[in-house]
C-alpha cells in the first residue's frame, strides 16, 4: 500500500465525479440552502424574546452546527453509498483490480475521495457557522474542535456507506442500508436508551411502617447506549463556554450561559452518566461521554474500511450472490 496508489484512486474518483456536471448546481443549492436556513434561524432568534444578556450568537452557533451535522449525515450516504458496487455495475472495477493497485489502495482512495467531497460540503456551511465566531460570541477554539469532530463523524459515515456498497450487489440496497445505519445512530440510540431505562430501574420499598414505593433509575448503567450518537458526541466534545458572572447586589452568581444547545445537551448526557437520578443542573460536570462515543464510531469506521478492503481482494474464492466478477 502506498500513498501514491491511494492518491491515484482518489484523484480518479474525484475527477470522474466532478465531470458529471451537476455538481456545481448541487453545491450551489447546498450552499444557499444551509446558509439561508442559518440566516433565517438568526433572524428568528433576534426577533424572539431574549434577555439582553444573551447573545444570539451562542444559540445560533449550536443550532446551526447540529443542523449542519444532521444534514451532512443525510447527504453523505448518497456520496459514497455506491462507490464499489456502482463501479461494478459500470464495469470499471475489475479493470482496476487487475492493475498493481492493491485492495487497500482502492478502498482508501475511494474513501478519501468521498470524505473530501463531504468536507467541501462542510466548508460551504462555514459562513453561517463562523458568523458567531466573528461576532466574538464563540471562541475560535470551540469552533475548531466542533468542526474537527463533525469532519470525523462525516468520515465515519463515508466509511460505513462504502462498506455497504462493497457488501451489497445493488447500489439501491446499499444506499438504503447506509441510511438505515445513519438512522440507527441518530434515532436508534436514544430509542434504545429510553427502552432500557425502565428495564434497569430498581424498585424500592415499601419501607417498614410506610407504603411508599419508588423506583430508582440507573442511567449510569446504560449511558453508553447514547454515546455513539453523533449529536451527543459533537455536543459533548464542544468545549464549554465560559460561565458568566451575574452580580445581584453584593452577591456574585456564576452560571452557564443560557440557550447554548451544545452545552445543555452535554450537561444532560453527563448527568445521565453520573446517574444519581436527580438530573439537577449540577455545578460539577460528570465525566465526559464523547471519548467513548467517538472511539466507538471510529472503530466502526475502521472495521467498515477493513471489510471493504477484504471484499475487494482477488482472486475471489466465494462470489457473493448477485455480484458480477467482471
Amino acid at each position: 500500500m502506498t500513498a501514491r496508489g491511494i492518491g491515484l484512486v482518489a484523484r480518479q474518483e474525484i475527477r470522474t465525479r466532478l465531470r458529471t456536471g451537476r455538481w456545481k448546481v448541487l453545491l450551489a443549492a447546498w450552499f444557499l440552502g444551509v446558509n439561508g436556513l442559518g440566516l433565517l434561524f438568526r433572524l428568528a432568534l433576534e426577533a424572539g424574546e431574549n434577555s439582553p444578556r444573551d447573545e444570539p450568537g451562542v444559540p445560533m452557533f449550536g443550532g446551526v452546527l447540529l443542523g449542519v451535522l444532521v444534514l451532512m449525515l443525510l447527504v453523505t450516504p448518497a456520496l459514497s453509498g455506491q462507490s464499489v458496487n456502482g463501479d461494478r455495475e459500470r464495469g470499471t472495477l475489475a479493470t482496476l483490480q487487475v492493475t498493481r493497485l492493491t485492495p487497500a489502495e482502492i478502498t482508501l482512495g475511494k474513501l478519501a475521495a468521498a470524505w473530501g467531497t463531504s468536507l467541501v460540503a462542510l466548508l460551504l456551511t462555514l459562513p453561517s457557522l463562523l458568523l458567531p465566531v466573528a461576532e466574538g460570541a464563540i471562541g475560535p477554539g470551540r469552533a475548531l474542535v466542533v468542526l474537527v469532530v463533525t469532519a470525523l463523524l462525516v468520515g465515519v459515515v463515508c466509511a460505513v456507506s462504502q462498506a455497504w456498497s462493497a457488501l451489497l450487489a445493488r447500489s439501491v440496497t446499499s444506499i438504503l442500508m447506509s441510511y438505515v445505519t445513519m438512522f440507527a445512530l441518530l434515532v436508534g440510540t436514544p430509542l434504545l436508551f429510553m427502552l432500557a431505562i425502565p428495564i434497569t430501574a430498581e424498585e424500592h420499598g415499601p419501607e417498614e411502617g410506610g407504603d411508599v414505593v419508588y423506583t430508582e433509575e440507573h442511567t449510569e448503567r446504560i449511558w453508553w447506549l447514547l454515546s455513539p450518537n453523533p449529536v451527543v458526541v459533537l455536543a459533548d466534545a464542544a468545549p464549554r463556554l465560559p460561565e458568566t458572572e451575574i452580580v445581584i447586589g453584593d452577591r456574585v452568581m456564576r452560571r452557564s450561559p443560557s440557550s447554548d444547545p451544545l452545552g445543555e445537551l452535554s450537561r444532560s448526557v453527563r448527568d445521565i452518566r453520573e446517574g444519581d437520578g436527580t438530573y439537577e443542573n449540577g455545578r460539577n460536570d460528570g465525566p465526559a461521554v464523547w471519548p467513548w462515543g467517538l472511539a466507538f464510531d471510529l472503530a466502526l469506521a475502521a472495521g467498515a474500511t477493513a471489510l471493504t478492503a477484504a471484499r475487494l481482494r482477488t482472486p475471489l474464492r466465494q462470489v457473493p450472490r448477485g455480484v458480477r466478477v467482471a
Partner: protein, 314 residues
C-alpha cells in the same frame, strides 16, 4: 524468462463451481509464447470463467494456474504484471478523455512518469485512435471503445494477453486491424489467448485451437493440422438441376453413413470431405451427367471441428 520454459499460460486440472453449477471440471490449457491460441466453445462451456481465473480475478476450486510462471493464487501481483486482460464487456470512465484514460492505467500499472505520455501515444497509434487524442471517451463508438480497451490491456507491455470476444462490435476493417495487431504481438513473443464465436476469423488469427466443452478441454489442435489439405469440411455444390443432383448424391452417398447431403437455398451441402474426396465426388457427378455449376468449401475446418464436438453432446 519463467522457469517452466515457453508457456505464457499453464493451467492444470482447473475446477470451479458456482453453487450447484460446475462451470469448470478439470480443464487443462497451455498457451505458448509467440503464438495466438484460440479458445472455442459453446455458450456456457466455461470460457469466460476460465478467462476470469486466468486474469487473477477468480480463484479456482482446485488445480494450478500459472501466468508467466507465477501462480495466480500465491503470487497474483507478479502474474498481473505479466498479464494484459480485456473482458467481453467493460466500462470506461465516460468523463475522461481518451489519453487521460490510458494515462490513468499507465499510472495504475506503475509506469514511470516520463514514459507515460510516449507510451500512450504509441498505444493510440497502435489501435488507430490517434485522431481521438483529447476527445472524451463517451464520444467513441462501440468499436472504438473496444479498441481503447485493447490499448488499456497493452499499456504495461504484458507478455501474456487474454482477450474475451475482442472482435464483437468491430467493423470489418477494425477486425482485420485486430487480426494484424494480434499477429504482430505474437511475432514479438507475446502469448495470446483469444476467445471468440466467430470461427472463420479465428482461423486467420490463431496458431492453435483449444476446444472447451462443458468445463473440460475437448481438443487441442494446431490450426495447420485442422485447416490443411487433409482437413474434412463441408462442400457446397450448385447445379442447374437440383433434383438430378439430389438423386445422384443419394446414390453416391448410399453406404457412407458419415456423409450427409443437405439441400440449402444456396446449393447442396455435402460432407465432411477432404479436398481429394471432393474432387472425386465432382468427377462422379459429372460422369452421372449432373450439370454442376459450382463446388466450393462451405464453412471452415474450425467450424467443422466445433460442430463435430458439439454434436456429440446431443
Amino acid at each position: 524468462m519463467a522457469a517452466d520454459g515457453d508457456l505464457g499460460i499453464e493451467a492444470r486440472g482447473v475446477t470451479r463451481r458456482f453453487g450447484p453449477v460446475e462451470a469448470l471440471r478439470g480443464l487443462d490449457i497451455s498457451v505458448p509464447y509467440g503464438q495466438v491460441t484460440a479458445l472455442v466453445g459453446a455458450n456456457g462451456a466455461g470460457k469466460t470463467t476460465l478467462l476470469l481465473i486466468l486474469a487473477t480475478l477468480l480463484a479456482p476450486d482446485s488445480g494450478t494456474v500459472r501466468i508467466a510462471g507465477h501462480d495466480t493464487l500465491t503470487r497474483p501481483a507478479q502474474a498481473r504484471d505479466a498479464l494484459g486482460w480485456m473482458p467481453d464487456t467493460f466500462g470506461v470512465y465516460d468523463q475522461l478523455t481518451v489519453d487521460e484514460y490510458l494515462v490513468f492505467f499507465a499510472d495504475a500499472y506503475g509506469l514511470p512518469k516520463q514514459e507515460r505520455a510516449g507510451r500512450v501515444r504509441a498505444l493510440l497509434s497502435l489501435v488507430h485512435l490517434e485522431d481521438h487524442l483529447g476527445r472524451p471517451v463517451h464520444a467513441l463508438s462501440r468499436g472504438q471503445k473496444q479498441r481503447l480497451g485493447m490499448a488499456r490491456a497493452l499499456v504495461h507491455r504484458p507478455r501474456v494477453l487474454l482477450l474475451d470476444e475482442p472482435a464483437s462490435g468491430l467493423d470489418p476493417r477494425s477486425r482485420i486491424e485486430l487480426r494484424d495487431l494480434l499477429r504482430s504481438l505474437a511475432a514479438d513473443g507475446v502469448a495470446v489467448l483469444v476467445s471468440s464465436h466467430i470461427l472463420s476469423e479465428l482461423e486467420e488469427i490463431a496458431d492453435r485451437v483449444v476446444l472447451v466443452d462443458r468445463g473440460r478441454t475437448a481438443g487441442d489442435h494446431a490450426m495447420a493440422e485442422l485447416a490443411g489439405a487433409s482437413a474434412r469440411v463441408a462442400w457446397r455444390i450448385r447445379s442447374l438441376e437440383p433434383e438430378r443432383l439430389a438423386t445422384a448424391l443419394a446414390g453416391l452417398l448410399d453406404g457412407r453413413p458419415s456423409m450427409r447431403a443437405t439441400a440449402l437455398p444456396g446449393g447442396t451441402e455435402v460432407g465432411p470431405l477432404t479436398e481429394a474426396e471432393a474432387a472425386g465426388l465432382l468427377a462422379e457427378l459429372v460422369r452421372a451427367d449432373v450439370p454442376v455449376t459450382g463446388l466450393a468449401p462451405a464453412g471452415s475446418a474450425l467450424e467443422s471441428a466445433y460442430l463435430a464436438m458439439t454434436e456429440t453432446r446431443r
